[in-house]
């Protein structure tokens, strides 16, 4: 039985010399050595690990010709500074593009929310085509306010303005009781334009 569920990995680490010069792993190294001394199958596994290493070392990649390195160095000596300038410009362009995309997004939202003209009901008007200011892949959402609510609201609210649940005359206030939790009395305003307004704490528990 192996001494640890990760025994093969530990044995590989031993073969890779990971325990050498590590005082904190001296105990583990000693344990592996003792295990190897008593278990021929562990010795065989160690030999297989070393054989693979040997095969690897016997087949190094072919070395390129020296002139290849000289050419590459010459190109590098010119390239990094050139690339650096290019990278700076690239970053600037990305910044400009991001800003433009944000402006376009804000503009399109404003455009969508502004009071619209009387809808043109003419069918298949060639001018009635959406003008794309940015493609989906050109817009990156960097931050969403209220992201901690785990909700992303896309589009418009389903109801604009006050939500009318009942028409005047459909509600009759018969009594008003204080809230059980804090004994607060709801306010009832009967002075409005014909409908009662009740102002009370919303139970959200």
């Amino acid at each position: 039985m192996n001494p640890s569920p990760n025994w093969n990995e530990i044995l590989a680490a031993f073969a890779d010399g990971e325990f050498e010069g590590r005082d904190d792993l001296a105990f583990l190294k000693q344990r592996v050595e003792e295990w190897l001394a008593r278990h021929p199958e562990a010795q065989a596994e160690l030999s297989r690990l070393r054989q693979l290493k040997q095969v690897w070392q016997q087949t190094p990649p072919p070395s390129p010709r020296p002139e290849v390195w000289l050419k590459m160095l010459a190109e590098l000596e010119a390239a990094p500074h050139r690339s650096l300038v290019k990278a700076i410009w690239h970053r600037r362009l990305v910044g400009i593009a991001s800003a433009a995309a944000c402006i376009a997004l804000v503009a399109s939202l404003w455009w969508a929310q502004r009071p619209g003209p009387v809808p043109n009901t003419a069918p298949n008007d060639p001018d009635d085509v959406a003008f794309s200011v940015a493609a989906a892949h050109e817009v990156e959402i960097m931050n969403v306010d209220g992201a901690d609510t785990h909700t992303l609201v896309v589009g418009e609210l389903p109801v604009k303005g006050p939500l009318e649940l009942a028409a005047p005359g459909e509600v009759t206030v018969t009594s008003v009781q204080p809230a059980a939790r804090d004994n607060m009395m709801p306010e009832v305003n009967m002075q409005g334009p014909g409908r009662p307004m009740i102002w009370a704490r919303l139970e959200t528990d």
Binding site: A12, L52, W56, P62, A79, P80
Partner: protein, 196 residues
């Protein structure tokens, strides 16, 4: 400033500072230090010299133009190897389909000629070239994460800790990937090892 005389063995950080100050000799020294290890890693990940050299060149450019990426986090060597292994995997992904198609169009003799076999001992070197080819084929069969982990450890001789830093993973994950990579390589190389 004369790099070779004023400083006996300048550190990578000193060389980088010199290079950023406009001393080209510093770049030459850095290049000389790490070109081979970078090339060997790229070769093992890509399997051919031309692509490996392209990946090395791109990696040096990227590593030098994005030095802020490594400063304070790791050594220049591990930073460069992270960039070169990224570049090699990108090259592999980009060229994979194209290469497969072009290799399908080549005959066996043309495929053989792609492997450099100019060595002193023809028989032994032919054997070695066969083994290298077999090893490359076996490596290519590994999942990218295992291949990269194994190559960084076996070819660049990085410790488990360094591999973990390069890849941004835990040492446990390094050990696990190495274990599975070796298991698969062993199976894939079995036909060759049985004939030895």
């Amino acid at each position: 400033m004369a790099i070779g005389t004023a400083l006996a063995l300048p550190s990578d950080e000193q060389l980088l500072a010199c290079w950023q100050g406009g001393h080209r000799e510093a770049l030459e020294e850095l290049f000389h230090r790490y070109r081979l290890v970078a090339y060997r890693v790229a070769y093992r990940l890509l399997g051919n010299e031309a692509d490996a050299l392209d990946a090395v060149q791109e990696a040096f450019v990227k590593a030098l133009t994005h030095l802020s990426g490594f400063q304070g986090l790791s050594s220049f060597k591990t930073w460069l190897l992270r960039v070169v292994s990224n570049a090699a995997l990108d090259f592999g992904r980009q060229r994979g389909r194209r290469e497969t198609l072009s290799m399908d169009l080549l005959g066996p003799k043309q495929r053989e000629s792609l492997e450099p076999l100019v060595e002193a001992e023809p028989t032994r070197e032919l054997d070695r070239a066969d083994l290298r080819r077999l090893l490359q084929k076996a490596l290519a069969e590994l999942p990218a994460a295992q291949r990269r982990t194994f190559v960084l450890h076996a070819e660049a001789e990085l410790s488990y800790r360094e591999v973990a830093d390069v890849l941004g993973i835990s040492i446990g994950t390094v050990m696990s990937r190495l274990y599975y990579a070796r298991q698969k390589l062993r199976v894939l190389l079995e036909p060759w090892t049985k004939n030895r």
